[in-house]
């Protein structure tokens, strides 16, 4: 694989059973590149190591007063020079290619994994982990995978040089052959401590950066209310901690540097001492002594690769483990579904709460507890995080459809829809029915002022569709973001659109206009809106009040305002004292108490999605829940026909 051919058409299926296996899998998938790097590496290192021999030959030639041998040595050096230059350049190219292809492969795998996990990411710790692997671990993994063949080339070279020296000059070669392995391992015992200190330093630096960016992110708050010194002091402390950790780490590396000077130095002294005596006895020539001396000097270069590989491994092992873990995560539900793909259209019905959204109508749902509303909205789309009774669309259980079919049929816009960065055109370019244009949708969601703001904030464009939206739409206000998200959902134009508090940050004037716009644009389509805003509720065909996990009232907004005190309490934001003062409230509570009890239990149970130990209780509760749901749906039908 060449760099210019990246990305991989298919990054493959990783062996994510463990960290080392993952590293091995990556290395195995670029065997060609590894061999290239090994071959060029050998050429480079061997050429570098041959230079000292040239130095020795030259000195000896001069000692022997031989012009021809001096010229020959010159020729040899030019050859070595070519070998060094070509070998180094192509080794570097091969190594960088290996690094980049490995890193690109992991990034591609992560992107696929993130897309696959989708909504499951938001609930797991996984979100942070995926990002951490992508930003920090990929580099380390790539480093180790790439360094392998380079290390192998260096190690082979050292063996070759030692053997060469031994053949060239056995008496001195023995000293080198004994000394070099000692050099290779001399600093290894210090490396774990050094890398640990480096890790501590990185961690502290990360913390300081976090504090700094946190302070800057909240700067408007600080400037508005005070406390700058408090936060500056805190940052200064963190920054000084980084400095101390860094110096502590540097102490270790300084010792390592000193040893890297000391150990080869001692070997050189041994060679000089031994060599000079041999030379005096006439057993070796002066040139041979210079050769061995300078060969050992040069050998420190391939020797460094021993440390590098040890460091690369100690850094990349935890990284590979994290990457393998992230790549082996799976979704809770089966995204393939047990039914064939189809696009059902009809009434949306939730057997659990008894919520019914008739086909082609605008149903508003009022729910006192915003968290419960969020969970219910999520369930309406099928394949929720917590398993339970499936919602039915035209009688078809959504959970049993393939994930993609379910998402096509029902679009759930959650409370906090994310605007993806890019141009407005890219933002609104989502898979859709094609029936609703961007202009219509933007008009219905009252986005006029957002478009003006976008053009003003952009660099060089007059067309709002080309204006850039920053990450999460941070340059826009909360209300502006909500309206753009709503426009995006309207463009999708799904069979069923579920909106959870779509206008909570929008002012009343605009909200009233949005209610009109959405109603008109969704004519003939099924829409479910979770809201407590009277302005939206007043525009709904049908308002459903969900209380403690079950539908307790259905009707028109004005009708419910009059007849249903709990409804009034939620939508007019009466405080608890006010509602408590109403007599009928107390009566109704006692009346409903018995009916609510089993459901309340179920709701509490639902809150712990990760507690898997009590599966049995779950089943029994589900049973009672099903009965309740059946009862409620019967009631619902009676209500409907009335």
């Amino acid at each position: 694989m060449q760099i210019q051919d990246l990305p991989y058409p298919d990054p493959g299926v990783p062996d994510a059973r463990s960290g080392p296996r993952f590293l091995w899998w990556l290395g195995r998938n670029q065997l060609g590149g590894q061999f290239k790097s090994l071959a060029w590496g050998l050429l480079h290192f061997v050429s570098v190591s041959a230079l000292p021999f040239c130095v020795g030959f030259a000195v000896q030639a001069v000692v022997d007063r031989s012009w021809s041998r001096l010229a020959l040595t010159g020729g040899l050096m030019v050859l070595c020079g070519a070998g060094i230059a070509v070998g180094d350049t192509f080794l570097h190219r091969a190594a960088v290619t290996n690094w980049i292809t490995a890193a690109a492969r992991v990034q591609q795998l992560l992107a696929r994994q993130a897309a696959h996990l989708g909504s499951a990411l938001t609930r797991r710790v996984a979100a942070g982990e995926v990002v951490a692997v992508s930003t920090g671990d990929v580099e380390k993994i790539g480093w180790f995978v790439e360094a392998l063949s380079r290390f192998l080339a260096a190690a082979l070279t050292i063996v070759i040089v030692c053997v060469g020296l031994f053949v060239y000059q056995p008496a001195l070669g023995v000293v080198v052959a004994v000394g070099v392995p000692l050099l290779a391992v001399s600093v290894l015992p210090l490396l774990p401590r050094a890398t640990r200190r480096a890790d501590v330093q990185r961690e502290k630096a990360g913390r300081a950066t976090e504090l700094a960016s946190d302070t800057v992110a909240g700067l408007r708050v600080l400037r508005g209310i005070g406390g700058e010194e408090l936060f500056l002091d805190r940052y200064r402390r963190a920054s000084q901690e980084v400095r101390h950790a860094a110096v502590r780490s540097a102490r270790m590396w300084a010792v390592i540097s000193a040893i890297q000077v000391l150990m080869p130095g001692l070997l050189l002294i041994a060679i000089v001492w031994h060599g000079v005596r041999l030379a005096r006895e006439g057993r070796i020539t002066v040139g041979e002594l210079v050769t061995v001396y300078s060969a050992v000097m040069v050998m420190s270069y391939p020797l460094r690769h021993f440390e590098e590989i040890a460091m690369a491994y100690s850094f990349s092992r935890p990284s590979a483990k994290r990457a393998a873990h992230v790549l082996s995560l799976e979704r809770v539900t089966d995204t393939g579904g047990t039914r064939a793909a189809e696009a059902p259209a009809g009434d949306l019905y939730d057997p659990d709460t008894g919520l019914l959204a008739p086909s082609g109508r605008l149903t508003a749902v009022v729910c006192g507890d915003p968290d419960a509303a969020g969970r219910l909205a999520e369930r309406l789309g099928g394949h929720p995080a917590e398993e339970g009774v499936s919602v039915l669309l035209d009688g078809v259980p959504l959970d049993e459809l393939p994930l993609d079919s379910a998402r096509t049929a029902v679009l759930v816009q959650d409370k906090d829809p994310v605007l993806l960065s890019g141009s407005l055109r890219e933002l609104l370019d989502v898979p859709s029915s094609g029936a609703v244009g961007a202009e219509e949708a933007l008009a219905a969601a009252q986005c006029g002022d957002v478009l003006v703001a976008l053009v003003q904030g952009s660099l060089d464009t007059e067309d709002p569709m080309d204006a850039r939206i920053t990450e999460r739409g941070r340059s826009l206000s909360g209300g502006q973001r909500q309206r753009l998200a709503l426009a995006r959902s309207l463009i999708t134009d799904p069979e069923v659109l579920v909106l959870d508090e779509p206008t909570s940050a929008v002012d009343s004037h605009t909200e009233a206009r949005i209610a009109d716009g959405v109603r008109e644009l969704r004519t003939g389509r099924t829409t479910v809106m979770f809201t407590s805003s009277p302005l939206l509720l007043d525009h709904a065909d049908r308002v459903v009040l969900v209380h403690e996990g079950a539908v307790v009232a259905v009707g028109a907004h004005r009708e419910l305002l009059r007849s249903e005190p709990r409804y009034r309490a939620v939508v007019t934001r009466e405080t608890e004292e006010e509602s408590a003062s109403r007599d009928e409230q107390a009566v109704l509570r006692s009346e409903l108490g018995s009916r609510d009890a089993p459901l309340r239990g179920a709701a509490e149970h639902d809150e712990g999605p990760l507690r898997g130990a009590s599966d049995d209780d779950d089943a029994s509760l589900r049973g009672s829940l099903d009965d309740e749901a059946a009862l409620r749906s019967a009631l619902e039908e009676i209500e409907e026909s009335a």
Partner: protein, 593 residues
């Protein structure tokens, strides 16, 4: 491979207008010399220690040359023991001082880096609120993360290593000149190749590396966004598009990698050829000189070994020069913040009384486009004023003007007779506080998050403030109470809890006038109203300007101002406005049924 052109797409190119200034070359130079002055002693010490280490490193080749000379001359007395002794001492000195060089270099680098990042934050924290409101914090944020990171490498390694490398190379050359002056010209033969090659490379490299780094960051950013938007991506079936986007980013990034790889494919042979040429010319010329009898074998050996040693400092200089060039741009971005005029307020200006008065105020963010036109308003002390109106009508802008964040283009806004825009930010906020939708929870303990409003508050006061905003319930339920770590990485608070913290800060800061910009919009409806009522009790007697999108807030206010199209179209109490049957009345009808 004839060459690789830089890719057409440059991920480092700015996509939005630079909202904060970038430092001019003069500012950068001034800052660098200031930094150098501050650390002059450490610099000199580093150079001194380094000199000793390098001189010690040259003892070996010198002694070996000497020995070689005497052996080849067949000298009787070698004094081998003494020579080895000197060798060992020199080695010990070298090892000891190398350790010092590394350590001092790191200490110096870390010190400069710490100075730099702390300076930057101090500057950022002192920025006028108006600048922050206009520029947003995004640009500042990228400076304190990306740019500081890039500089970290430069300060930590490049600056000390370059200092070491230059000293080292100069000393080696000097050593060569002193010991074998005849061979010194041989080193110069390779200089032209090196200079031409390096000029070509350094002209292209910094921009290339900057784009490459930006490209790599974009790969991670695309993924981070996919992860962050997991639900949205799944709901809108954007999975395949996100994968395609990630792959496009990989392609863009690797195109730059390929380009910089090509640059190095030119530089590496140049450096290698330089090294070999130096060694080769020293040996060949030296050999000829020896054969001619101009120098002796020992001098040749010393010269060759020193020439061989030159490899390391030259590599060091080339390696880190790159980094320094890349860092220069980041440094310019950091010191750019120094170019912003600090808040020029009149510290002596004090309000008398607390009437807020806006007199024919005009204001616009852009030249020639006024968002507010001829707005006049009088708010008596203790009044609760609600601003209502459609999005973009100018409610929030009016709120910010009343809080002294912006100065009107025309007209005056006064508090107790003193013009708000002429007071310092610190002074203004002791009288007026603005709470907007941005409820930042700082990383740190719950206590720190509250203390910022009043640094000397006791725990009892903090609990009282939490109680005033209905937050003592969940607050007391926390395992570590006020010491609980919150913010990103700590306990995740709901938006509603964050809003309560923001309001609790307000209770602690206790200004006599407050501007609340949709301050309770994130709470669930019932809790919002409950909170507003309890807050009203706490804030009793204070002037409150509430920008409201929920009509009940307006309903609870003493006076309502309907803002439409940059003007105040209706003004009066709830009952008056309902009776007037204007825009407000219509809205109220539809809202309240």
């Amino acid at each position: 491979m004839i060459g690789v052109a830089p890719p057409a797409y440059d991920p480092a190119a700015p996509t939005t207008a630079n909202t904060l200034p970038v430092g001019a070359p003069a500012t950068v130079r001034a800052y660098v010399s200031e930094l150098f002055q501050r650390h002059r002693r450490a610099f000199l010490l580093l150079v001194a220690v380094n000199t000793v280490a390098v001189v010690a490193s040259m003892v070996g080749p010198y002694l070996l040359g000497d020995l070689v000379e005497r052996v080849s001359d067949g000298a009787r007395e070698l004094h081998l023991g003494l020579t080895i002794g000197v060798f060992v001492v020199a080695l010990a000195v070298q090892a000891l001082f190398i350790r010092q060089v590394r350590l001092r270099g790191a200490m110096l680098g870390e010190h400069m880096l710490a100075d730099l990042r702390e300076d930057f934050l101090v500057r950022s924290v002192g920025l006028p609120p108006g600048v922050l409101e206009r520029a947003g914090t995004g640009d500042l944020l990228s400076r304190i993360t990306t740019d500081i990171d890039r500089l970290a490498n430069a300060m930590r390694e490049a600056v000390p290593q370059l200092a070491i490398g230059v000293v080292w190379a100069v000393l080696l050359l000097g050593g060569l000149v002193v010991t074998v002056p005849e061979l010194a010209p041989a080193v110069l033969i390779a200089v032209p190749v090196l200079v031409i090659g390096c000029r070509w490379y350094f002209k292209r490299a910094p921009a290339g590396y900057r784009s490459e780094a930006a490209g790599y960051a974009a790969v991670a950013a695309a993924l981070a966004e996919t992860v962050d938007a997991g639900r949205t991506v799944e709901a809108h079936r954007l999975g395949d598009r996100r994968i395609a986007l990630s792959e496009r980013r990989v392609k863009e990034w690797t195109a730059w990698e390929n380009y910089t790889l090509w640059l190095r494919s030119v530089l590496f042979p140049v450096i290698n050829v330089t090294h070999v040429t130096v060694l080769c010319s020293v040996l060949m010329l030296g050999g000829v000189f020896v054969l001619r009898g101009w120098i002796d074998v020992g001098e040749l050996t010393t010269g060759a070994l020193i020439a061989q040693m030159l490899v390391d400092p030259v590599n060091l200089i080339l390696r880190w020069y790159d980094e320094l060039q890349v860092a220069q741009v980041s440094l310019a971005r950091l010191v750019g913040v120094r170019d912003i005029e600090p808040d020029a307020g009149d510290a002596g200006l004090s309000p008398e009384g607390r009437d807020v008065h806006a007199d024919r105020v005009h204001f616009g963010y852009l030249e020639g486009v006024d968002v507010l036109r001829k707005v006049s308003l009088e708010v008596a002390p203790g009044t609760r004023l609600a601003l209502v109106g459609p999005s973009g009508a100018g409610k929030s802008t009016l709120g910010r003007l009343l809080a002294g964040i912006y100065a009107p283009r025309d007209g005056r806004i006064t508090l107790g007779g003193a013009e708000l825009s002429r007071m310092t930010a610190e002074h203004v906020r002791s009288h007026v506080a603005l709470v907007n939708q941005e409820h930042h929870v700082f990383v740190g303990s719950l206590r720190d998050n509250l203390l910022l409003a009043r640094t000397d508050a006791t725990d009892a006061e903090l609990w009282a403030a939490l109680g005033a905003v209905d937050a003592d319930g969940w607050g007391r339920a926390l395992d570590d109470g006020l010491d609980t770590e919150v913010g990103s990485g700590g306990l995740a608070l709901t938006p509603a809890q964050a809003q309560q913290i923001a309001l609790a800060r307000l209770v602690l800061a206790d200004p006599h006038t407050l501007v609340l910009d949709e301050a309770t919009s994130l709470l669930d409806p019932r809790a919002a109203r409950h909170l507003e009522r309890s807050l009203a009790r706490v804030l009793d007697g204070r002037t409150v300007v509430a920008i409201a999108h929920r009509l009940h807030t307006a309903h609870d206010a003493d006076v309502i101002a309907v803002v439409e199209n940059g003007r105040i179209s209706e003004l009066g109490s709830h009952d008056e406005l309902v009776a007037a049957e204007g825009a407000y009345a219509a809205l109220w009808q539809s809202w309240h049924g």
